[in-house]
Symmetry: C4
Subunit: 199 residues, 4 copies
């Protein structure tokens, strides 16, 4: 990977809040996997009398996941629950790798790394509960959320400031993209687009 | 526009929190455009298995948008997403200008200004993400929300204290109406109405 | 009304946070009217493509309104919006007075007072927006919520600490019941019930 | 019960925030009963025109209740309201004891203790309102939530830091499991699982 040595101001703003160790870990991520409930959502489960009615995602997270994919980073969703709603949202975001009903997340992460020819140090995972522990303990970049129990988030290398479902995933995407010098290009594109329109 | 030189106490309360530069920018707004997800909503996307089920708006925002229209300021909604729900809410609020599926918001803002014979300094825009950047950088009054990534909201001239979907749009409307001396009339009307009923 | 002169500890806990003037106003309330959106709810409006899908009420508020009714205080709901959902919830709570589609809330409050042979000093109203102003300025006990614009809540005699839809109405009920010495009876009943079961 | 005398670090983290008296009470719990609205949910009631549409539970709470059951502690849900939604969620979590439409919670708690051959000091209850008072005053471990009125939560032996519906029940489960030395086993299992996969 060709990484810029001097950060763009937007990336510097993000990196300034991170330790060198976290930046180095985020810099190596080639596959980023996310738990769903409590991470991509606020953990709330909406039930009607026939079971789960809906899930609540976040538009900031959606944009972040798209920026990751456009930057060539593989995005995966790995969840213990099952249902058609997540597949619908993932399809809209163009996320092809969606593993549902997974009991052993560590094994799922290993398989993912192998399929993509990555070492575990090039894999990131963001989770919030005991079922996520083994995966968090194996990956190069382990991320968590402030709504997780403290005994989970303390295992992570990095914890978002926004809670799950309110932009935590976007924050995680921004950290990885900034560490890899891949965020500023979207600002430059935006500026070019603007110039194109003005001139 | 005839603007009062001495502010009504209600307007003074709002203006006291603003810099002279922000007041001057808000004073010139003749068209105010808003992004939808994250601004008019809290950015949450409610999905069932067939896609987006609903959107969550705010009654304070609705009243603010009505006060803007009644004051002669043109209100527009510009969003990258598409769907029938927004049209339904906009119709209820009497907002005629609703542009959905917009990729280039800067271009949409320019077209809007031209159609209404306004300069860009007379246009305001409130947004929360990278897709909003080019529009925010062009308009006379650029507004954002505290739930936006910091690298977006720092581009804005003014950021609401309430998050999107919890009254951020109403705060923005109040700022514009107060800067233009157009908010107090609704208090006077309320007082007159009350007198009429009492006497 | 026979009011106790020495407060029960539970009532003292509530009254300790109130000024003598607020206690005196709350003590006189015989009819308490509430706005709906932003007061009995958090102001969020859930829209599908055919309009409002649902409203979100709070179980604490529901219990508070029941305690008010059981204590002989008349409860009314007065809202500018219209729809079948509010009627459904009000029926469940046994609230007979529900006025929807009301533009002039001050007039609605006056009519209510007259029908029940009360003076306006014996009426309370809780609201959060400009449409509520004239009513708030007329009643003996004007209450508001922290999510209201500051220029509205500053008109009120008392503002709840919890926001609308999260227990603001219950807080208001507790204030009135405590000021009237009518809250502790529910604790005594609970204690009696417990004794009955134990012995 | 065989209880470890030296706490696992994860359990120590939780126990460090508790008084010896709370730890002792939690240590004795063999049946833990929970109120639903405001405890297992955030107290919000979602109404359509035909009544309650859905309830919003939390994935962290669900995992906590499963850990309790797997640890041999009996879990019960006791609520004053009635409806099919709670039964659906309870079935998914494998909770067999669900008492709905209960007016006298104290009596329900006594019956529960008797059926399971427990003394009341071995029963816990988590509630948030006046209807829960008599039960809270009887059980060995009385728990409440920060969203309860202060005059309720002050009756409890312990109050969660997270509000109802946002992980309060999980916090309660963690306290009981940590006090009984039954939480760390899930970490050990997770570690073993990980080792098994790696080697």
């Amino acid at each position: 990977m060709n990484l810029p040595t001097i950060a763009h101001p937007v990336e510097a703003l993000i990196l300034a809040k991170l330790s060198p160790s976290v930046i180095e870990r985020a810099r190596q991520v080639r596959i980023m996997a996310f738990d769903v409930d409590g991470v991509l959502t606020d953990g709330k489960l909406w039930y009607g009398e026939n079971g789960e009615l809906m899930k609540c995602f976040n538009s900031l997270d959606g944009h972040g996941l798209r920026l990751m994919s456009e930057s060539g980073i593989t995005v995966a969703l790995i969840t213990g629950r099952e249902g058609p709603i997540l597949a619908r949202r993932a399809a809209e975001l163009g996320i092809a790798i969606v593993h549902q009903g997974i009991r052993d997340k560590s094994q799922a992460i290993s398989a993912l790394a192998q399929e993509h020819g990555c070492s575990l140090s090039e894999v990131g995972y963001m989770g919030d509960d005991i079922i996520d522990l083994s995966a968090l303990q194996r990956v190069g970049f382990a991320a968590s959320v402030p709504n997780a129990p403290a005994y989970i988030s303390q295992v992570a290398h990095w914890t978002s400031s926004k809670p799950g479902g309110s932009g935590a995933v976007r924050e995680c995407c921004d950290v990885i993209l900034a560490a890899q010098g891949r965020l500023s290009v979207f600002f430059t594109q935006s500026a070019k687009l603007m110039s194109g329109v003005i001139q």
